[in-house]
């Protein structure tokens, strides 16, 4: 299965990557902006996306909307700080599969991803 990791912080990217090690995922891309995320999604059609909200060029909410309009079945988990909770609420309303707050709880991340990719 393929995963796309989106966060403007390389450290957070690594933490998420480390979190999915052992879950038999192929990390098909790491994006630091919403724009790159949309492009990478279209190229790779990953099974699951982790998406930050506050990012340069295009925020996670807009990226989520664009990916969803391209692929309504896209599975996107929002991972952001509570300071962006209003955006997180909007993201869940327009179809994000889950919202996880930072700092990331590794176990919860794994459970959430596992549940999201179930057929």
């Amino acid at each position: 299965m393929k995963i796309l990791i989106v966060d403007d912080s390389i450290i957070i990217q690594k933490i998420i990557e480390k979190g999915v090690v052992g879950m038999q995922f192929e990390v098909v891309g790491m994006a630091r902006t919403g724009k790159d995320a949309v492009a990478l999604y279209k190229t790779h059609k990953p099974d699951i996306v982790t998406m930050d909200i506050t990012m340069p060029e295009m925020d996670g909410l807009t990226a989520l909307e664009e990916i969803k309009s391209f692929d309504p079945a896209a599975k996107i988990i929002i991972i952001s700080a509570l300071s962006a909770k209003e955006m997180a609420v909007k993201a869940l309303k327009i179809g994000a599969v889950e919202y996880l707050r930072k700092p990331i709880d590794e176990k919860l991340l794994q459970d959430t991803i596992a549940k999201a990719v179930q057929p």
Binding site: L82, K85, E86, A88, V89, K90, L92, K93, Y99, R101
Partner: protein, 528 residues
């Protein structure tokens, strides 16, 4: 009748009798049944009665809870409307009655910022759209602590409110309704603020107490006496001529006085006065720059005087309380040594605040005796130490680069010569920058550009004693206020003495000053 007929008849009679018996039995069964039925009905009626009463009691209890609970409790449905039953405190909280059926975000939107009511709508819609994890009802809740304003009979009331949401779920896990519990935190918030300000106040009191206990009693007494006198002088200054043309001299005079108060407070270490005096100075400087200065502009300065007097009164209060304790310390040390200690302490404080290092070496202070508590000497030495830190002593690394010890040395030697007390004050700092002094003197209009080139370095150095002369551009707590050495010189002149400065660029600055013993003694007597 034949025999056979009779037998037949009697058999029929027998049958009839049996039938009658059967029917009597049946009757009895029926009667029993009806009786049982009546009994059951009565029991059922009683049970219904009991159940009804229990229901009544439960409703009364619910009403009691809903009418008396201090939390506002209510339900909202998928249309975000309030349910019919809610606790009475909700009406008190919202300053509005008949709330059932009203849209909750609408109800709030008039009283909070728009972003908050928008976020609330989003959040509530989400909770009815899909199940959330329990902690998400808290994490995503936009109303954990909000400030809202309520219009009550034309008066705006500010409230701090906190809302908690929990779902009452359907079988598919999606909320059917939300149970909302709201609390009014205004009282706690105000209490918090009050406690915070009381804590700050008590810290200030502690600082005063600490200063009073750690300062030498004699110095403290002098400080309070002197500061009271200076505050009086300040009030007299402001009470005088307030014609627009006279304001600048009034402000200059006030600045000088407040600067002296600041110096003394630094020496004793009363931070609250140092800070207040510093603000006072900054305010005066701002007024210097103002065009069309009027008497009204100086009114805010009077508040400073009021606060200054308040702190002095508080200090006096602390002193009175510990007087008994202090009395036993008063005679322990002679005043000359106390002055030396105070200067060392001040040197330590200036070192800490400037990042520079210096130590003070004192000789002959015991010769001063009681005269050490006379304001003149003390003021002069404070100013010179501050001056050393501001202009003389270099940063430790700079000193090391120049091949000097990182710690600067300040030497103060006191000796008596006839009718004079002679004091030699020397720091091994950067010396006086004659070129800068000359430039500044020209810029300040103290001398013409053409004339200054004919002066000897020693003559140029004398400008540092001139009123409003400072080579530092930024004012801070240690110097550079354009007043300092002029006060020193004025003080010395008033005490019948003189002052000279010698300096070698990069090596040292030395002040030698003399004070007339007679003048010192008579000022000492004036004071007591």
């Amino acid at each position: 009748m034949e025999n056979g007929d009779i037998q037949k008849l009697s058999r029929e009679i027998e049958n009839l009798r049996d039938d009658l018996k059967d029917s009597e039995e049946q009757n009895e069964v029926l009667e029993n049944f009806v009786f049982g039925l009546e009994k059951q009905t009565a029991e059922a009626r009683e049970e219904a009665q009991r159940a009804y009463q229990a229901l009544e009691r439960a409703k009364a209890e619910t009403d009691l809870i809903m009418n008396s609970v201090s939390d506002a409790i209510f339900l909202i449905d998928e249309q975000l409307k309030l349910g019919a039953a809610y606790s009475r405190s909700l009406e008190t909280m919202f300053e509005e009655r008949e709330l059932s059926g009203k849209n909750f975000p609408d109800l709030l939107s008039r009283r909070v910022e728009k972003e908050i009511s928008d976020s609330l709508r989003d959040f509530l819609e989400l909770t009815f759209l899909r199940p959330l994890r329990p902690e998400q009802y808290t994490d995503l809740n936009p109303l954990t602590e909000i400030s809202a304003s309520f219009d009550t009979a034309g008066k705006i009331k500010e409230k701090w409110l906190s809302f908690q949401f929990s779902p009452l779920r359907r079988e598919n896990g999606i909320a059917e309704r939300l149970l909302v519990v709201a609390r009014d935190l205004t009282y706690e918030k105000n209490l918090e603020k009050k406690i915070e300000s009381e804590r700050a106040e008590s810290n200030r009191q502690m600082e005063l107490m600490y200063r009073v206990l750690s300062a030498s009693p004699t110095l403290l007494k002098d400080f309070l006496g002197e500061t009271r006198r200076e505050v009086q002088e300040l009030e007299d200054t402001f009470a005088g001529n307030q014609a627009a043309s006279a304001l600048i001299p009034v402000l200059q005079q006030a600045f000088r006085i407040i600067h002296s108060i600041k110096g003394n407070a630094t020496l004793i270490g009363v931070q609250s006065i140092v800070e207040l005096a510093h603000q006072f100075e900054e305010n005066i400087k701002a007024l210097y720059k103002r065009e069309n200065l009027s008497g009204l502009d100086i009114l805010p300065l009077l508040d400073f005087i009021f606060r200054l007097k308040q702190i002095i009164a508080e200090m006096q209060g602390v002193i009175d309380k510990v007087r008994g304790f202090q009395a036993s310390l008063t005679d322990a040390t002679d005043k000359g040594t106390l002055l030396g200690e105070a200067l060392r302490e001040m040197c330590g404080k200036l070192a800490a605040s400037t990042g520079k290092k210096a130590e003070i070496h004192l000789t002959g202070f015991e010769l001063l005796g009681d005269l050490a508590s006379v304001t003149g000497i003390k003021d002069i030495l404070i100013q010179l130490v501050r001056n050393s830190f501001a202009h003389g002593i270099e940063d430790p690394t700079e000193r090391e680069n120049r091949g000097k010890a990182a710690t600067g040395q300040i030497m103060i030697a006191v000796e008596t010569q006839g009718d004079f007390i002679l004091v030699r004050y020397r720091d091994d700092g950067n010396g006086i920058d004659i070129n800068r002094v000359a430039t500044k003197a020209v810029r300040s209009g103290l001398i013409g550009r053409a004339e200054v080139v004919h002066l000897k370095p020693a003559e140029i150095a004398e400008f540092i004693f001139h009123t409003n002369f400072s080579t530092r551009d930024e004012a801070d707590l240690t110097g550079g206020q354009g007043v300092g050495l002029d006060i020193v010189k004025k003080n010395i002149n008033q005490l019948g003495g003189w002052i000279k400065v010698q300096s070698k660029r990069g090596h040292y600055t030395q002040f030698i000053f003399a004070l007339a013993l007679q003048a010192l003694k008579s000022r000492g007597e004036d004071k007591t």
